[in-house]
């Protein structure tokens, strides 16, 4: 099956078997291995990518579903000359990364959250990030990293 979509800002086409997931297509066809498979059941969120700017579990989505859509992965976040996205920068500064396996999914979920609500309070951050598990950090540093980017925005009171 031929699938055409926008991947990290570029128009791409892939010829893939009908039965593969978005996760498999991204990792195997496009070698975007920042997208991680944790549980494979939509529980852990480490496979989170953005489809039309909304966070989804790529392990539960058929590759066919992104035909004609815009897909963003962690690889598409950094700007020119490897300049980090403010969220990536904040995760580094706040020590929100330990083993790193959950980090791409965490950052993509955080990105969708802040796109939708630039000034979330702590409770809204927790709710927005409820679908992403981290077994290292205890979440506090992750929440603080996201808060720092939210507070850095001009529109927050």
């Amino acid at each position: 099956m031929k699938i055409s979509f926008q991947l990290n800002g570029e128009s791409v086409t892939a010829d893939v078997p009908d039965h593969i997931t978005l996760l498999e297509m991204l990792r195997e066809e496009f070698e975007l291995i920042g997208v991680k498979e944790g549980c494979g059941q939509g529980e852990c969120g480490s496979c989170t990518v953005l489809v039309d700017r909304e966070a989804v579990n790529s392990c539960l989505m058929l590759a066919a579903f992104v035909n004609g859509k815009k897909v963003e992965t962690i690889e598409g976040l950094a700007g020119a000359q490897g300049r980090l996205d403010p969220l990536q920068d904040a995760f580094v500064k706040h020590g929100a990364v330990q083993c790193g396996f959950c980090t791409p999914g965490m950052i993509m979920s955080a990105k969708a959250l802040l796109d939708d609500n630039p000034c979330p309070d702590r409770e809204q951050i927790k709710q927005g990030m409820a679908g992403n598990m981290c077994r290292c950090t205890g979440y506090i540093k992750i929440i603080e990293a996201i808060e720092s980017v939210a507070k850095g925005g001009n529109s927050c009171g």
Partner: protein
């Protein structure tokens, strides 16, 4: 996942033709969060997958002339964000807000939630309390099914082989109605309910007497049910803690929960009696 052929027809007629010709070898996919999971675990191995993604109009919420129409492909995130649903059918928003994670709510559809017919389906109880009508289409055309006749058993519905759910139709509640759904879970997020309880209350003009009550129970029987004896008892009663307590006891009597790996039947019964007052008070609080 097993190998299958993916079909994405552009009209409902083509969907039904495909389902008709492949029979039990085909399955419909909506959001896929239940089906892909089952296929990943090899609990289900269809040879053909028929997607509803390209059928026009199925992902819309329409509200006019006192009627809410939710397309089968409407995702839970759209329900979260729908002003008419939050304002007029708040118990449905309660259920959609607490289903899975943001990522799941962005994928999972309301049509999939009820057609998969898991006994724990989050939107089923609220739709029961709202007396939803389901518009389905099959080889012989369209028909309406009352949600009360839709669930036949766990993962079993009254849809026939090549029938497809198109729309969920909900009539406006009577003037002054209020509602609330409580999904009782061990954790605050990412959990399935131990039980769910929905109420719709219509107070009389004084605001103190119950003119009409609807109570739905989830995971209190093999399918979501309405607690009709409880509803009858509440009608005409003046709201009070004692009335809620008695209603809770009646609702326990109408339920036949089972002991599962999640919890025991006895515990489920205790939750019912304490959730009914809580849901009723929260619904009435929303009136102000």
């Amino acid at each position: 996942m097993n190998k299958f052929t993916y079909h994405e027809p552009k009209s409902m007629g083509d969907v039904i033709d495909l389902l008709d010709s492949y029979g039990t070898r085909a399955m419909v996919i909506a959001g896929g969060t239940d089906l892909v999971l089952k296929m990943n675990e090899r609990k289900c191995e269809p040879e053909h997958i028929v997607s509803l993604r390209s059928i026009p109009g199925l992902n819309e919420i329409k509200y006019d002339n006192g009627e809410l129409r939710i397309g089968a492909m409407v995702r839970h995130r759209q329900i979260n964000r729908s002003k008419p649903i939050r304002e007029n059918f708040s118990l449905l928003a309660d259920a959609a807000d607490n289903l899975g994670s943001v990522q799941i709510r962005n994928l999972a559809t309301i049509g999939g939630n009820i057609c998969n017919a898991a006994p724990c389906a989050d939107t089923a109880g609220p739709l029961m309390a709202l007396d939803a009508v389901l518009l389905v289409e099959g080889p012989n055309g369209e028909r309406n099914i009352s949600i009360r006749n839709f669930f036949l058993g766990p993962n079993e519905t009254s849809l026939t082989g090549s029938e497809v759910l198109k729309e969920i139709i909900i009539s406006d509640l009577p003037q002054g109605a209020c509602s609330c759904y409580i999904k009782y879970t061990r954790r605050k997020a990412m959990d399935l309910p131990l039980m769910g309880l929905g109420v719709v209350l219509v107070p009389d003009p004084s605001g103190k007497v119950c003119h009409e009550a609807r109570v739905s129970l989830t995971l209190c029987a093999p399918v979501p049910i309405r607690a009709t004896a409880t509803e009858e008892y509440l009608t005409g009663k003046t709201f009070s803690d004692e009335v809620w307590k008695e209603a809770g006891t009646l609702a326990v009597g109408e339920s036949t929960p089972r002991t599962s790996f999640r919890t025991t039947a006895a515990y489920r019964k205790r939750i019912i009696s304490s959730l009914l007052p809580r849901a009723a008070n929260e619904a009435l609080r929303r009136l102000n």
